[in-house]
């Protein structure tokens, strides 16, 4: 998937090996503790070997974040397909969003902290758009703000995204936590307001990405 055209050099597929090792180090040690040298050592190459494949540490983290967005999108999509359009599908997608964030907290923080990666990287941007696109698709037709329609066509999308994202962030960082243990996993409907599904507005909104959205490159 991320493999290069040429097959076997000294290492074989150092690029993907570094990404995988980086992802492992990331969740083991945390975002602030990952280092180029430890990732390289994990793969068994010298600490300057990654330079042939990535633009420094930031470049490697960018590639890792890109993989993160792909998995993020897949995790949302997982629950979506089992439900018809409407509230159930929205819940499924949001629970996927939360599930990914809580199971991959360091990767999630990496994805959404632009100072750690190269935010202008085309592949990263595309993967991010694709991930947002999943959420956007399930929000399509859901109207949260019937009573107050000002604020532009993306208002509901932004509101929904803000809600899920903020909940994920506050949970990851420990700002929101349950007192009692043995509790069930956090789910989106714990804080989700009552949405209405209005098929009559389902076709009225423009696509801000204009077909640029796709998972695979």
């Amino acid at each position: 998937m991320l493999k290069e055209n040429r097959k076997k050099y000294h290492h074989g597929d150092l690029k993907v090996a570094l990404i995988e090792a980086g992802l492992a180090e990331l969740e083991e040690k945390g975002l602030e503790a990952v280092s180029l040298r430890s990732i390289a050592a994990r793969v068994g190459v010298s600490h300057t070997a990654p330079k042939n494949h990535f633009d420094g540490l930031r470049g490697l983290l960018t590639a890792m974040a890109t993989v993160g967005y792909h998995r993020h999108a897949a995790e949302m999509q997982r629950g979506v397909e089992d439900h018809p359009p409407g509230k159930a599908r929205l819940d499924a997608a949001c629970n996927g969003y939360l599930r990914f964030a809580l199971e991959n907290p360091e990767l999630f923080k990496l994805m959404f902290t632009s100072s750690f990666h190269l935010a202008e990287d085309p592949e990263l941007k595309q993967a991010g758009w694709a991930s947002y696109g999943v959420l956007r698709d399930v929000a399509h037709g859901l109207d949260w703000d019937k009573a107050n329609a000002s604020g532009g066509p993306w208002r509901t999308e932004w509101m929904l995204w803000s809600l899920v994202h903020g909940y994920a962030m506050l949970l990851i960082d420990g700002e929101i936590r349950r007192e009692d243990d043995g509790s069930p996993p956090f789910r989106m409907d714990e804080i989700m307001p009552d949405f209405g599904y209005r098929p009559d507005v389902a076709e009225k909104r423009p696509d801000p990405f204009q077909g640029q959205r796709r998972i695979e490159d």
Copy 2:
């Protein structure tokens, strides 16, 4: 305010001087680029001088984050006092939340990234609670989820906090942005749903902080 009892040693008030220098460096260079050495150099002391006042870099960042929470709470409170309880007051507090985040993005990220500071620091926790308390107070009596009342007594608070916090995070990181420039500042009511104010439920909810909330120490 944060000044110590003793007044003038070699430097005078190195502790607060370091915090102020740290806050300046933070917004100038960004969260990932601040260093103990550069902060110490800015004040004009050796790079190990901070060790007498803080537990390493993490300790200094913790003190900076604590100041950040105080300012955050003050910024929210600023708009609150001009409005009566209800939607207007809520909007004012949330706009304060957003304003602070957008004007102090690096400090905001520091506050809400536990891997950068010492999350168990008592002063930090207290300041964080105080900040949340402002938001909680304006949410008191607002009922967002009339139709669906499951999820515990903090459901509306968590929902509101998630919404504001997620919007702030996505704006700071550039995930949400306007296409056209010369645009007005982001405000919360752009994504805020229609709240209802119900004085009849205003006294029913327990205080999870039980009086621990206070701005000044």
